[in-house]
């Protein structure tokens, strides 16, 4: 069923793509069906396992090895890879978020992208992403997990770059992809090391294995895995790709960049928590990077006018909070992670969707241009307020519960005299104040603020002027608003049904820690230090909100060059520059110089090998010396090769080089290699025809005689190339080589039984060495494209010697033409 669900998303993506959903009014509802079905299935399956109260565990069905369901399919057995899925508390939490929020986003997309011709394509990418994400959180094999991890990177690239005619979308998609896929490579290395060192690739086995932290390679594994998780979850110093990815259409932002994909890193950290967390390196790296991310995100969020950018930085900061929580090992911290993840999905998702609705209805989403939306978009405003207050962490909403449980867990750590607890608490309180500030800014500026007449409010230099409430250009359809409404309703209801929900929370937190958890969350804790911290943070937040213009101004003074995107762009530019320098150093000489470099480089290994080999060993087996017919052939080859070089006319050279080729073909015939002979003969024919085609049209050769030095160099290179071939053949046919193991016997013996073919050469080409052939035909394809570009370029038609640029073009042309004789 788990694999079938993943498959269902892949198939429904294709169906939606073929359906042309932009033409059908019911497509939005249809697209919500598969995610809803999977949500329902998950709920039904997991319901017996959710003991609602601590005492009623007798009712609770027992987990098998801590899992609700597990499935395994063999895949690449030779590599120990299997497609194994496992549904436990944590996977269930993520699975429900993915499919639940996914259903709302799928419905929403149809209305957001109405009249968009490429809506089907978006659905295809979106559903492929859903499938990857579900596979990622359900995977029970490190390599399976990685495959789906990469799947999310690729599909998110497609989703971010959906508006491919906008430079911002392309840049954002590229940056996001480079960062997450680069981290993915580190992750792959880390996962393989982890699998090799622990002896198993099955995640549930690895996490139940004690003593992983004592492995000598453990720090390396940890750093690599953290790199993967931090890049995916936009932790400092990789946080900047997330705001850049806001160029994506809003449904993608809401889904990928708040509810699901960025949580993949958090999921990975939580998944491997029992195995890796018992190490100071884990604690400190998560604490430091999570703390910095949390503070940085929340502070920078206040600065932004763009609704989506503000929300993006808010997301960065919330991801920092979750990372910081995962640094700790206490039950309270794990529970706070679970609550935080769900709460965040239920308020940030709707907020993004609201931003999309506003953008869609008003044509702008800049806070500076919007005012008083509560009059024009009342339902949307209600959604925004409920979600925004939850984001601020004000009682009695779900965000408050999440914040309380997180402060509580930090206090728990701090009470034990733990320095880390105090650090986390301080950072969380400071970030909490900014949470309040940006949530209030978001709500006030766009929705609640009365029509701003006071121009003096707009003191920020360069900021757009605030105007009267923008008239609704395009009223949102009811289902468009319904999607965030449903999500926010779930989020608002959650704190009041904490009793039934707590079984779900403890199940999820229990599967992070690997043991049963007896703590519960509640809306009201009494007057605890956490509550006082919270109150102080809220008060501070209100003060910050009132002074937000001052804050914005001081933040804008931050120099541009230390921003992540700018630094990254600079790094990329440096790489391009380096590539150009390298190309300039190694390319662009005349054909003779260029081929001299290549040929001499080929000769070097032979020369090195010659120093280590006694020449006596190279003597060929004297019993197979050439007979009379071969001797004639050899003489013919030598003579015609000499004639090729010395002959004065081009046609003569072409003919004699044809003779060389045919003599070589005859060698193949004598030594019974018909395949090689055929290939060589055909190549000779085509080459001669080509050369005749080109060379007969060339003007007569009037070059000045070659310089002595160049002649000498050419002689040297020719000798080296000849020696290269000569000694290579000698090595191969020497007694030493023949006595040792050769691979020829293997091919001869296995061609018919293994390769089903009697022509060994062909079997080697297409079966035994198919990878090599694949590489070769890829090279051919690239060469064909290059040749096509050069030979069919319009600039070839231009007269020479008019401009320097054309000189270059014709020079390239000349190279192409002369290298034609090699092919």
């Amino acid at each position: 069923m788990l694999a079938a669900s993943v498959g269902l998303f892949l198939i429904s993506g294709v169906i939606l793509f073929l359906l042309q959903p932009e033409r059908r009014a019911w497509a939005g509802w249809l697209s919500a069906v598969p995610p809803l079905a999977v949500t329902t299935w998950q709920l039904l399956v997991s319901l017996p396992f959710l003991g609602s109260e601590a005492g009623s565990s007798s009712r609770t069905a027992e987990l098998v090895n801590g899992a609700i369901r597990s499935e395994q399919y063999s895949w690449i057995e030779s590599l120990g890879m299997s497609l194994s899925f496992r549904l436990d508390g944590l996977s269930l939490l993520f699975g429900l978020i993915i499919t639940g929020v996914g259903a709302a986003v799928a419905l929403y997309t149809h209305y957001y992208l109405e009249n968009d011709k490429r809506q089907g394509y978006f659905y295809l990418a979106l559903f492929s992403f859903m499938a990857s994400m579900l596979g990622l959180v359900w995977a029970d094999n490190l390599l399976t997990l990685f495959v789906f991890w990469e799947g999310t990177s690729i599909t998110s690239y497609l989703l971010i770059g959906y508006k491919h005619d906008s430079a911002a979308a392309r840049g954002g998609a590229r940056n996001a992809f480079i960062v997450t896929a680069g981290g993915g490579l580190a992750l792959l290395a880390g996962l393989i090391l982890l699998g090799q060192e622990s002896g198993s690739y099955t995640i549930s086995e690895i996490v139940s294995r004690p003593g992983l932290t004592e492995l000598p390679l453990f720090p390396v594994i940890l750093v690599l895995i953290l790199l993967g998780a931090f890049t995916k979850s936009a932790q400092f110093p990789f946080h900047w790709w997330l705001p850049g990815a806001m160029a994506a259409p809003t449904p993608a932002s809401a889904y990928l960049h708040s509810a699901t994909m960025v949580k993949a890193g958090i999921y990975l950290l939580a998944r491997l928590h029992p195995a890796l967390s018992d190490h100071p390196l884990w604690l400190w790296s998560l604490l430091i990077f999570g703390g910095i991310t949390m503070l940085l995100g929340s502070v920078v969020a206040v600065r932004h006018w763009d609704m989506k950018a503000l929300l993006a930085y808010a997301t960065v900061s919330q991801l920092g909070v979750l990372t910081t929580l995962l640094a700790f090992r206490s039950e309270a911290a794990l529970l706070a992670v679970v609550v935080g993840i769900l709460a965040h999905a239920l308020y940030k998702g709707p907020l993004f969707l609201v931003a999309g609705i506003v953008d869609h209805a008003m044509g702008t989403r800049s806070l500076g241009r919007l005012a008083g939306l509560r009059h024009s978009l009342p339902v949307t405003t209600a959604i925004a307020v409920l979600a925004g207050v939850s984001m601020a962490g004000l009682p009695p909403l779900f965000g408050f519960v999440a914040k309380e449980s997180l402060l509580e867990s930090f206090f728990g750590a701090a009470e034990h005299g733990d320095l880390t607890g105090w650090i986390a608490l301080g950072a969380a309180a400071a970030a909490g104040a900014f949470f309040v500030a940006y949530s209030m800014t978001f709500l006030w500026d766009a929705f609640l603020r009365p029509v701003a007449q006071d121009e003096s409010l707009t003191v920020t230099p360069g900021a757009p002027h605030r105007r009267a409430p923008t008239p609704v250009l395009h009223a949102p359809a009811a289902p468009f608003v319904a999607a965030p409404l449903i999500l926010v309703a779930c989020g608002t209801a959650a704190p009041f049904v904490l009793g039934p929900l707590s079984g779900f929370f403890t199940l999820a937190a229990g599967s992070i820690s690997g043991s049963k958890i007896d703590k519960h969350v509640s809306l009201w804790h009494g007057f605890t230090p956490a509550l006082f911290t919270s109150i102080v943070a809220i008060a501070l937040g209100v003060v910050l909100f009132l002074n937000r213009d001052l804050l914005r101004r001081s933040l804008l003074r931050m120099p541009r060059r230390i921003r992540g995107v700018v630094l990254f762009q600079r790094t990329l530019d440096t790489i391009y520059t380096l590539a150009q320098i390298t190309a300039r150093l190694s390319q662009g000489y005349t054909l003779a110089t260029q081929s001299a470099i290549v040929l001499l480089a080929a000769f070097v290994p032979v020369a090195v090998a010659l120093r280590h080999i006694r020449l006596n060993d190279l003597m060929p087996d004297t019993t197979v010396l050439a007979g009379s017919s071969e001797t004639i052939l050899i003489l013919m080859t030598i003579v015609s090769a000499y004639v090729t070089v010395r002959v004065r006319t081009r046609l003569g050279a072409i003919i004699s080089i044809g003779v060389v080729g045919v003599s070589v073909t005859l060698f193949y015939v004598f030594f019974s290699a018909p395949d090689l002979a055929l290939t060589q003969l055909l190549i000779e024919v085509l080459t001669v025809v080509l050369l005749v085609l080109v060379f007969t049209k060339l003007p007569p050769d009037t070059r000045p005689p070659m310089q002595r030095l160049k002649q000498f160099r050419n002689l040297l290179v020719a000798l080296a190339a000849g020696a290269f071939g000569f000694f290579l053949v000698l090595f191969n046919s020497s007694v030493v080589m023949q006595a040792g193991q050769t691979i020829g016997g293997y091919f001869l013996h296995n061609a018919v039984p293994g390769g089903h073919g009697a022509n060994v050469v062909n079997v080697i080409l297409v079966d035994f060495r198919a990878f090599d052939t694949m590489g070769e035909i890829t090279v051919l394809a690239i060469a064909a494209l290059g040749g096509y570009a050069l030979l069919n370029a319009p600039r070839v038609r231009l007269p020479a010697r008019s401009e320097p640029a054309q000189d270059k073009a014709t020079e390239q042309e000349r190279r192409r033409g002369t290298s034609g004789e090699d092919s």
């Binding site: 080109v694 080409l765 890829t778 010697r801």
Partner: protein, 173 residues
């Protein structure tokens, strides 16, 4: 205008060469032949066409398919590897055997498909070069005054300077 004998020969030889290419491709797994050789053979057939009927006609007939032929060939080759991936390894051979009514016992496997991919790439590659070069050589009636080039570096061959009125020439011919 190409010579008469070439045009007459072409009528007979081109189908023969193409059939030969097909024959070499099909039998390649057990007897001399295979995708690479068959591709070159087919390219030779197209070259004959180019020589006898002019490159414009050939270009009009098959030109648009060449670049996509390369892509298709690569795709076919890669797809043939995926059959093996399901069993265990990328490019691991996978074979089917069956008894066909006319042909008798037939074996068909993913390496044959791979060979087809090689064939497509090679024939498209070679024909693409042949077409491109014959266009150049057709248009490139080199002017004698272009020969005294600026001192060419090294072993440079005389410049490929192409006549300006080439396009008009092309349309005329």
């Amino acid at each position: 205008m190409p010579e008469l004998y070439l045009r007459l020969l072409n009528r007979i030889l081109t189908p023969v060469l193409l059939l030969l290419a097909l024959f070499l491709l099909v039998r390649g797994h057990n007897l001399p032949g295979g995708g690479f050789i068959a591709g070159l053979m087919a390219a030779a057939a197209f070259e004959l066409q180019i020589l006898s009927r002019g490159h414009q006609r050939v270009r009009r007939a098959i030109g648009p398919y060449l670049n996509s032929g390369i892509g298709l060939g690569l795709a076919v080759a890669i797809c043939s590897g995926i059959f093996g991936l399901m069993e265990g390894h990328f490019f691991q051979g996978k074979w089917f055997e069956m008894n066909m009514p006319l042909l008798g016992h037939v074996e068909f496997g993913s390496p044959i498909l791979f060979d087809l991919g090689v064939f497509l790439v090679v024939v498209s590659f070679a024909t693409s070069y042949l077409l491109g070069l014959s266009r150049i050589s057709d248009g490139a009636a080199f002017r004698s005054e272009d020969v005294d080039l600026p001192p060419a570096p090294d072993d440079a061959r005389p410049n490929f300077s192409v006549e300006t009125d080439q396009s008009s020439k092309e349309s005329a011919s």
